[in-house]
């Protein structure tokens, strides 16, 4: 495909992906003091990404067939099925807009948060741009492996941003915890992608997904749909889901997300609430249309999501630090999204006999969370600057910071899912999905509904407490309700509390919250923007996003629906719980111990293994290597006992040349005599004798070159040994007790090696690589004259061995004389020449 011109949209989306990091790199070249220019360039990068993606999705409707097709391929590493192509379908396009859009606001907020601190901003914007690029890459990449690449990049940028305060050891530790946890998931994702790709040869999401209008793409379903451990589809799904679950902080891997709150608040608001943690949800949503067909999907995804959702909500209400509260509600909401996607695999048949998936308006669910959670974090950071991040210290803070508190209360209103925010509709849709699932999963739906109600109750209670506390109303949290939480690291920033940049502490939050209420009060506007991205609009009566009025009118006409009743129960209970004096302490999350425990076990185990294996004793290493070899050899003998046959065969023809036997006997006797003697000189002489017998053996084997070389070598070696022995101290230990295990290993190794020699020497050679000739035969044939095999070039010599050395394998010989030179250099430098005294 390289000849095909690269169409505009590929380049456009690629530019969108790389715009933020490019802008970030440009800011690195600015003088440190030029803060405003820095902000503007970073802003431009994000805005450019947003604009390009918007232009793309406006040009080609993302849910249409063209939108799902993926852009043309720019070849990168075709052999690895890794090329540059992009896909801005409903899911990807929406996420890209979300990432770049919130990115714009976060750039502004970061300026407010860090204040006029040149050093922080100098470092922050490039890192933020790097993250934004990675995140855009995940959601827009068409090649599965490209997604993985960007996925890992988000892990790296998250690590850099969590460990922002490089001198805070605790923060660095938490950054590593997040990195290892999500990195482990990344490995799972890699495995899943490879397994799926190798099994189906599908390496692009656009080929993976069903074409528009088609119901099920699961052509593999008859073969692979069932649960069985040998099912590669199941393996691929489980591995990929593992990656998604760690990234999206699903139980029990959720511990890294509250830990990640060590990051500066702009990071928490951006990465750890609105974008990066949703990468897992994004991935599951990507997989869902295909893997919904797996039997295991609902039984894995729904319970995991439900457990995460409920547990995190219960922990959230028992926290004091604002960022921790919101972190746990984030985990809870991620569980909810996961649960909703899990429910999508279930079918519902209405009274018109239409059968459809119970999921509905899933993009709205995702957007809803981003539009209230990012503001909550933004205000948490802002309050941390001007007052405190500990909720017990915030009683009555409204009087000092009305703008922030109003934004906080409005965002909290959405958190609680109260009528008037889009959050309310989203919760209704989720409750409908649970209610509709009863057709498939029977009375399990009651448990799910209970979990949803508990979650909603906690969220409402959190909202109530936030409101009463900041307004200073009765029922709010007060300072005597527990020890003050740890201080905000950000206190040392010199922040403009007023003015344009001061207002940037809360304005970005207000903008986002506004979307919540636009959606809640005027669903038509919301629908105008979000509808083009939605692929699952299934319910009767929900073809348009229901407005509050519609729900009320429907209630008056037909009586309250079950989801609405549940919702009302949740709100009522939440209001009561909000004022009750229970659940007000700050509890610890037991899962926080998972990573430290695993880390401790790994380090301790590693140290033990190190001490066991790395003894520093040469003999231990030798025994280990030889033992491994012997085990391998024994294994191959056991596998094929006929390997002994060549030995008998060779033995029968052993006596064909008597001088050879004589020389062999001399070699054997001299070798055996070596360990039996004590005297150093005798030993050297024996070595020499053995060498001369080997020279004779070379002659028998008709190797004159070898015999001559070995002869010279023996002379020099004996000399070498004599010299060295004079330089070495005498042996101090005379106890040369022959150890039985030494003899045993030596005998076993000797037998194994002799055996292997015979087997190797008598096995027929493979001629296929050398055009049917033995390699030696080929060298012999071309030693003097060339043939067409060597393009007519011969070595021009009669002595084949020498021709091989200097011609056929000349490069090899060049390497070997280099080794010689290096050995000589080693000797010269290890024993430096002593200057004679007269000089």
């Amino acid at each position: 495909m390289p000849d095909q011109p690269v169409p505009v949209s590929s380049v456009m989306l690629m530019t969108a992906v790389f715009a933020p990091v490019a802008a970030g790199i440009i800011t690195l070249f600015l003088p440190r003091k030029r803060t405003t220019l820095r902000v503007l360039i970073s802003l431009a990068g994000m805005a450019l990404a947003f604009g390009l993606v918007y232009a793309q999705v406006a040009q080609i409707a993302p849910t249409s067939a063209a939108g799902r097709a993926g852009t043309a391929v720019i070849p990168w590493i075709p052999v690895l099925n890794l090329n540059l192509a992009f896909l801005a379908d409903g899911l990807g396009g929406f996420f890209a807009l979300l990432v770049s859009g919130i990115g714009v606001l976060i750039v502004l907020y970061a300026r407010g948060y860090f204040g006029d601190e040149p050093d922080d901003l100098y470092r922050f914007y490039p890192t933020l741009g790097f993250f934004a690029t990675a995140m855009l890459g995940i959601v827009l990449a068409d090649y599965t492996l490209l997604t993985l690449l960007f996925w890992e990049m988000t892990s790296i940028s998250s690590f850099l941003l969590i460990g922002w305060d490089r001198y805070d050891k605790h923060a660095v530790k938490l950054a590593m915890q997040a990195f290892y946890t999500t990195g482990l998931g990344g490995l799972g994702l890699l495995g899943g992608i490879l397994l799926f790709g190798l099994e189906t040869d599908v390496w692009r999401w656009s080929e993976f997904l069903p074409a528009a209008g088609e119901d099920s793409p699961a052509w593999w379903l008859p073969e692979y749909g069932e649960i069985s451990w040998t099912n590669p589809m199941l393996g691929a799904f489980l591995l990929m889901f593992f990656g998604a679950a760690t990234k999206s902080a699903q139980f029990p891997f959720h511990y890294w997300l509250p830990g990640a709150m060590a990051a500066p608040t702009p990071v928490s608001a951006y990465l750890h609430s609105a974008t990066m943690v949703k990468a897992g949800v994004f991935l599951v949503a990507r997989l869902s249309p295909v893997f919904w067909a797996l039997d295991v999907w609902p039984w894995l995804v729904i319970p995991l999501g439900a457990i995460t959702m409920t547990m995190a909500a219960l922990i959230a209400i028992n926290q004091h630090d604002l960022k921790r509260i919101f972190a746990y509600t984030t985990v809870s909401q991620l569980g909810l999204l996961m649960c909703a996607l899990g429910l999508g695999a279930l079918k519902y048949t209405d009274h018109h006999n239409n059968s459809f998936s119970v999921i509905n308006w899933d993009i709205t669910q995702i957007a809803n969370h981003a539009f209230y959670k990012a503001p909550l974090f933004i205000i948490a950071g802002a309050l941390g600057h001007v007052a405190s991040r500990d909720i017990t210290q915030l009683n009555g803070v409204f009087k000092k910071q009305p703008a922030m508190c109003i934004t906080l209360i409005l965002a909290g209103f959405a958190l609680a899912g109260l009528p008037g925010s889009i959050s309310f509709q989203a919760k209704e849709l989720f409750l409908y999905a649970i209610y509709h699932s009863y057709q498939t999963i029977g009375s399990w739906w009651l448990i799910l509904m209970a979990a949803a109600i508990v979650t909603a109750v906690c969220n409402v209670a959190i909202f109530v407490r936030l409101t009463t506390t900041v307004l200073g109303l009765p029922g709010g949290m007060t300072a005597d309700m527990g020890c003050p939480a740890h201080d905000d690291h950000a206190h040392h920033h010199h922040v403009d509390a007023t003015g344009f940049w001061g207002s940037m502490m809360w304005v970005p939050a207000a903008v986002l919250v506004a979307f919540q209420f636009i959606g809640g009060i005027a669903p038509g506007v919301w629908e105008y923007f979000i509808r083009p991205f939605e692929t699952n609009i299934n319910y009767e009566g929900f073809q348009y996003l229901p407005s509050l009025g519609y729900i009320l009118a429907d209630t008056f006409k037909e009586g309250p629906s079950i989801p609405l009743i549940c919702s009302m129960i949740a709100i009522a209970c939440g209001l009561i719980l909000g004022f009750l004096p229970v659940f007000r302490g700050a509890i610890k999350d037991v899962c926080d111990q998972i990573y430290p425990t695993v880390y401790w076990l790994a380090v301790t185990g590693g140290r033990r293994a190190f001490m066991l294996v790395q003894t520093g004793n040469f003999r231990t290493y030798t025994v280990m290597v030889l033992g491994a070899f012997l085990i391998g050899f024994a294994g191959s003998v056991l596998r094929d006992p006929r390997i002994i046959d060549p030995v008998y065969e060779a033995m029968s023809r052993g006596g064909e040349f008597w001088p050879g036997i004589l020389l062999g006997a001399i070699i054997i006797v001299t070798a055996l005599a070596l360990p039996l003697t004590d005297s150093r000189v005798v030993r050297v002489l024996i070595l020499g004798a053995c060498g001369f017998a080997v020279v004779g053996m070379y002659l028998v084997y008709r190797a004159p070159d070898l015999a001559l070389t070995q002869l010279m070598f023996e002379i020099i070696s004996v000399l070498l040994f004599v010299l060295v022995l004079r330089l070495l101290p005498r042996d101090e230990s005379k106890s040369r007790v022959p150890r039985w295990w030494r003899g045993l290993i030596a005998a076993a190794m000797g037998i194994a090696f002799g055996w292997m020699t015979i087997v190797a020497a008598t096995t027929p050679r493979d001629h296929t690589l050398t055009e049917g000739l033995l390699l030696g035969e080929m060298f012999a044939r071309h030693s003097y004259k060339g043939t067409e095999l060597t393009a007519g070039r011969g070595g021009g010599g009669d002595n084949i061995v020498n021709v091989i050395l200097v011609d056929f394998r000349g490069f090899d010989t060049l390497g070997e004389i280099t080794v010689l030179a290096l050995a000589a250099l080693g000797v010269w430098s290890l024993i430096p020449r002593r200057r004679s005294p007269k000089v």
């Binding site: 070159d705 010279m712 010299l723 000349g810 000589a824």
Partner: protein, 140 residues
């Protein structure tokens, strides 16, 4: 370490042995021999010479440090490979020809001989250099 017998014998043996080493190297492409053998032969001869005449005389006779031989040898071998590369052939391509001599004789010649000479120099330099350094250490 010098003895009269060795001293006398080395005067006779060394020239012959050097001649033999040279013969081995030059003939190596077509008969048993070559750079490795020639080099080792050469080295043994030089060591014999040193044992015969003693270090002071030897240093006067052979003023070169062996590392010069190693360096030159590596350079020669590498350049032999490089020349064909410059002429558009693969690295280390050998050039074979029959040189016509007067009186109708001809010598078969392959450019791989230069490579062999490089090998010889490295082998001589390495072996002699290492042995000499160790013997200096013993004598010190």
């Amino acid at each position: 370490m010098t003895s009269l017998i060795l001293q006398t014998a080395s005067k006779l043996i060394v020239p012959l042995a050097l001649l033999f080493a040279a013969y081995m190297t030059l003939k190596g492409h077509n008969a048993p021999g070559g750079g490795f053998i020639g080099g080792l032969c050469f080295a043994v001869t030089l060591i014999l010479l040193r044992m015969g005449v003693g270090p002071e005389v030897f240093n006067r006779m052979v003023p070169l440090h062996p590392r010069v031989l190693v360096f030159v040898g590596l350079a020669v071998a590498f350049l032999t490979g490089l020349v064909p590369l410059l002429m558009g052939y693969p690295f280390l391509t050998s050039y074979v020809t029959d040189l016509q001599l007067p009186l109708g004789a001809s010598v078969h010649f392959a450019s791989a001989l230069f490579f062999d000479v490089g090998v010889l120099l490295v082998v001589v330099g390495t072996s002699v250099g290492m042995i000499l350094r160790l013997s200096q250490e013993v004598e010190a």
